[in-house]
């Protein structure tokens, strides 16, 4: 569940206009949203708000039932464990193997090592990287790195999954495979937001979209409670 009320964002130390202005939006639990808009519109900035890399400088943001402005550091850390992120540049840790990268969210959450071993092994099989589990990211291909990043984002069964240009460097077949994965997770109840420039991909997988332009939402936000309307198409079609 995502709810934004008059949210604004200004990067610290920058005066001038806000990067994001007057955002009002609601995405229900289990919803799927494209995040669209021209380069520089603020898509990455909005996702950064949602994965709690920045706090809103204005307005009220609720994530998974928690009001961000009122939460303390420990509560935010716990909330981040329920949010999976596929970064545009993957952001894998080069000094860890593929296995340890995928295991990282579980280790941070303090899971017992036996369970970690089983879960990560299963996850690596699922993304087809079991044979590459002891390889470090710099020795993996771009597609393999991306699958590690996806495995790390979903290993903890997140309630909210955010992906920033996840198909940016992929060919159509790989992009299609990723979409199937995201839709499968969405079917299992995960709220998904995907920022992309890929119009063809959006056309093949029609779903409601949050459309940003120059830091403002021009479509798809709905009223703060509008997302409850049945016709908002909670899940992605096709």
């Amino acid at each position: 569940m995502i709810r934004m009320q008059a949210v604004g964002l200004r990067y610290p130390g920058r005066d001038g206009p806000e990067v994001l202005r007057d955002l009002d939006a609601f995405v229900p639990a289990g919803g799927f949203r494209w995040l669209l808009g021209p380069s520089g519109a603020g898509k990455t900035s909005l996702l950064r708000l949602l994965y709690l890399a920045v706090r809103p400088s204005r307005g009220r943001l609720d994530l998974l039932g928690t009001e961000i402005g009122a939460a303390d550091r420990a509560a935010l850390a716990l909330l981040r464990r329920r949010i999976g992120v596929v970064f545009q540049d993957f952001r894998l840790l080069d000094h860890l193997t593929a296995f340890d990268n995928v295991a990282l969210p579980l280790r941070i959450a303090g899971r017992p090592e036996g369970q970690i071993r089983a879960d990560v092994t299963e996850m690596l099989r699922w993304v087809g990287l079991h044979s590459r589990r002891n390889v470090h990211p710099p020795a993996l291909s771009g597609g393999e790195q991306q699958r590690v990043a996806i495995a790390r984002a979903v290993i903890n069964r997140p309630s909210l999954l955010l992906a920033d240009e996840p198909t940016g460097n992929l060919d159509d077949a790989q992009a299609e495979r990723l979409m199937q994965l995201l839709k499968e997770l969405n079917r299992l109840g995960t709220t998904v937001v995907v920022a992309t420039h890929n119009a063809a991909l959006v056309a093949r997988h029609p779903a409601p979209a949050l459309e940003l332009e120059a830091g403002q939402l021009v479509a798809g936000g709905g009223a703060a409670d509008g997302g409850r309307r049945a016709d908002r198409g909670q899940r992605v079609d096709g």
Partner: protein, 315 residues
């Protein structure tokens, strides 16, 4: 039984943040070792200053001499010689542990080097000499001795109290100043060690900024990240502290052997087999491991504080 239990533990040497390469693993132990070495020397100075001060107070400074000229003549009080009057005054003073009038033969022994074997037959007008040992601490209380001198003067006019308490007090002040200097050096060394650890930790934070941000975004608490740094820093600082303390040991032993004849009359020379055991005051055997532990503790505390302060810059 080991196998199922091991499955529940983190893999040995798990290093999520990649600190093994990021934290100066040679410079930091080396610098902490130097700091611990300096701290060991000043701790030894502290212990030595207090040992020497105690020795003076119990030894030289605790003894004084009373000279009574014309001891055989009658005192102001009827029926007593001046010697007896002086002894009576000394007997009534609580500041004295013991006193003893030297016999004439002892006096002659003392004078023989100057006057030759015939000193006794020269019937010189020698004073009575009374050797006095002060009760513990009395040497530092000048007022007690002033009162005693006044009472001696009243009982046997002309009696001399040969005092060493002014000298003793000066030595005590000197010893305490040395101790204070050693204490200040210890504090400074601790502060410099903390600053070194802070600088090394901040360099590590800068080097691993990307990894820390990622781990933070994956939901790591400040405690988790700080513990990762603190574990590594504590190990490096403890290593340095132990090395520094071990390096200081032979030097402290050598210094202790040099100081030994001044502190222990029963051990005449450094070659005495009992010397080695007694060379290092027992307190130092506690201080050296304590310094290594303190280095590790400073490392842990400083790393925790530095990392947590830095993390507050992240949302």
């Amino acid at each position: 039984m080991a196998e199922p239990r091991r499955r529940w533990l983190r893999p040995r040497g798990a290093d999520d943040l990649g600190l093994r390469r990021a934290l100066a693993d040679r410079a930091l132990p080396l610098l902490v070792a130097s700091m611990t070495f300096l701290a060991a020397l000043s701790a030894a100075g502290f212990v030595a200053a207090s040992a020497i001060a105690r020795h003076w107070q119990e030894g030289a400074a605790a003894s004084l001499t009373v000279l009574v000229p014309r001891p055989g003549e009658p005192a102001a009080e009827p029926g007593r010689t001046r010697r007896d009057a002086a002894l009576a005054v000394l007997g009534g003073s609580p500041a004295l542990a013991e006193f003893r009038a030297l016999a004439d033969t002892e006096l002659a022994d003392l004078l023989r080097p100057w006057l030759g074997a015939d000193a006794e037959r020269m019937s010189l007008p020698l004073p009575a000499v009374i050797a006095v040992r002060l009760a513990h601490g009395a040497g530092e209380r000048g007022a007690d001795l002033d009162a005693l001198a006044a009472r001696l003067e009243a009982a046997a006019p002309g009696a001399l109290l040969e005092r060493q308490d002014v000298w003793a007090r000066r030595l005590a002040v000197l010893a305490r100043s040395l101790q204070a200097c050693a204490g200040v050096v210890l504090l400074l060394v601790g502060a410099v060690a903390a600053a070194l650890v802070a600088v090394a930790t901040r360099a590590g934070l800068a080097a691993r900024r990307e990894a820390i941000e990622i781990v933070h975004l994956l939901g790591a608490t400040d405690a988790y990240i700080a513990a990762g740094f603190a574990r590594r820093v504590t190990w490096l600082a403890g290593l340095g502290g132990t090395a520094g303390a071990i390096t200081a040991l032979p030097i402290l032993l050598a210094l202790g052997l040099l100081a030994l004849p001044f502190l222990r009359r029963d051990i005449a020379a450094a070659s005495d087999p009992a010397a080695l055991a007694g060379a290092v005051p027992p307190l130092l055997w506690l201080v050296l491991p304590a310094l290594a532990a303190a280095a590790a503790a400073i490392g842990w505390l400083t790393a925790q504080a530095t990392v947590r302060a830095w993390l507050r810059g992240l949302p």
